[in-house]
Amino acid sequence: MSLILDHVSYLYEAGTAMEYTALRDVCLKISKGEFIGLIGHTGSGKSTLVQHLNGLLKPVSGNVYFNGADIHDSDYNKKELRSKVGLVFQYPEHQLFEADVFSDVCFGPKNLGLDKKETELRAYAALKQVGLEDEYFYQSPFDLSGGQKRRVAIAGVLAMQPEVLVLDEPTAGLDPKGRDEILDRIAKLRDETGMTVILVSHSMEDVARYVDRIIVMNKGQIMFDDKPREVFRHYRELEAVGLAAPQITYIMQALKKKGLDVDTDITSVEEAKEAILKALKRNGGAV
């Protein structure tokens, strides 16, 4: 599995006075099994970018290749592409429409032309994967809480068993607990299935713990594309574009400034603990 964006540019309302360049010459290669965080300030083009990954938007210039085939070739099977690259939109709960949760999740696999049994098996598995309890399966999706609706909507895409799962701000509008639950679920799912996951967010804090590659967008362009620790090194540049490195990065930088010789390239609190203990030990155990 490989997904390549080759010099992709995109304009909204092309040819009018309101023309707006949402993507500018974006090049990207996504390989199997990667866990990617796509980060950028509001309006930086994240949602626009992910809609190119499954052919919902067609680049004004440049090409998108999935497994080596140009997805905008006239004979390319877009429907199949969309079953392989599952895209969960921002606020996906707004797309629920069926009378009960279970049928809504069945919508995706049913559209793939699977038989009833397979469809229901997949829907069941997907609902289990997002951690929704059985008692809700036959309720109206509109009676659920925001976080539960969100899970149902994610399950609706998971049920198509995509190879790549793209989540556009899956935690927007959730409380910290709901946010952690969903992100933990996604991380677990990814460990179990080896699925490629792209997590869109505007919070470094959210994704730093999980992903192993961060793509930073700014004004429709890719600003950084690297391992989290490498990206966080540029925390000043990140601040300049309205983002920030995780809090812990700042703490480590401050410690270093105060004279404690710690490794500042860390991304999580656990790593920070290790690094501080190590530095202290090196200092002769003077705690």
């Binding site: 009018t16 969309r82 599952g86 429409f97 995706g108 559209n111 509109f142």
Partner: protein, 298 residues
């Protein structure tokens, strides 16, 4: 620019659109702008844009009437010059206006075609059984010009006036009807809300459609019944969101003690300025000219 988009923004805030949607930093300039422009309004700064909406409404009505008064070349030249001047003053790119015309090309051809071939009179040329007459050419030409001017004239108004301004103007103009117990304010309010929601609903439709396509939905292929069925996943969320929006809006209006038009004052009341007086004068001169040209040449 601030002046014009302000009311539109406040409506959006009422409706809870975007503003406070809950995902971190919100309130993005481009988004706002796009929504307004989708409602056709072309944002720029010009005399015409700043003009009182009442003047523009009255002028548009007068212009349309004038197009039906004149029926000779000279009259159309005057109407054309007037229109060209206004477009020039409005600073809306001509390209932008012409694009709006594309949608009526088909209508135009049919209408002109009928006139061209079906008008009795002195025959000039014949194709099979179709005769082209001198009168036919004249009628077809006038008809086409009239249609184009009519559409351009009214689109100058919508291009240079925000929907909110337009309904404000209408409310004020129709004000006297209040004495006849016509709920003018309510009608104007409803109109401005409806206009304001068109772009929002369009955007919403686009989003839901994409989300369902991402889940393998197919809105294009199949026979009529299948197509109609495929609309369910689009329409249900759309209606739900429309009701939610309406509900939010009602709630927000209630929370701000909205009670209809009674005793309600405006933050920016419409007040005629000098340029509005001048504009009325120009329109009057134009109308007199049109009538005069018709009389003299008759």
């Amino acid at each position: 620019m601030e002046e014009q988009s302000e009311e539109a923004d406040s409506l959006a805030i009422w409706a809870g659109c975007r503003v406070g949607a809950g995902s971190g930093p919100v309130g993005n300039e481009e988004n706002m702008l796009r929504e307004i422009t989708l409602g056709q309004y072309y944002q720029t700064d010009s005399v015409i844009h700043r003009m009182d909406p009442r003047v523009k409404l009255v002028t548009t009505v007068c212009y349309i009437i004038s197009l039906f008064i004149v029926d000779n070349i000279a009259g159309y030249v005057i109407a054309g010059v007037f229109l060209a001047l206004v477009i020039r003053l409005s600073r809306v790119p001509v390209k932008y206006m012409i694009r709006g015309m594309k949608s009526i090309v088909f209508l135009l051809i049919i209408a002109a075609g009928f006139n061209l071939f079906l008008t009795p009179g002195e025959t000039i040329a014949t194709f099979w059984k179709l005769k082209i007459t001198r009168e036919g050419i004249r009628l077809a030409l006038f008809m086409a010009i009239r249609l184009v001017f009519l559409l351009m004239g009214s689109s100058v108004m919508t291009l240079t006036t925000t929907p909110n301004n337009l309904t404000d103007g209408m409310e004020k103009l129709l004000g006297p009807l209040k004495h006849l117990k016509v709920p003018v304010h309510e009608i104007a309010m409803m109109m401005s809300i409806a206009l304001r929601f068109i772009p929002i609903l369009l955007e919403e439709t686009d989003k839901i459609m994409k989300a369902q396509i991402a889940r393998g939905a197919d809105f294009e292929s199949g026979n009529l019944i299948k197509k109609a069925k495929s609309l369910v996943p689009l329409l249900v969320p759309l209606f739900i969101s429309a009701f939610r929006r309406a509900n939010d809006l009602a709630m927000a209006m209630e929370a701000r003690c909205y009670r209809g038009g009674e005793h309600r004052t405006k933050m920016k009341p419409l007040i005629y300025k000098k340029r509005d007086g001048i504009a009325y004068g120009v329109v009057l001169i134009y109308l007199v000219l049109c009538v005069a040209v018709g009389k003299i040449l008759l």
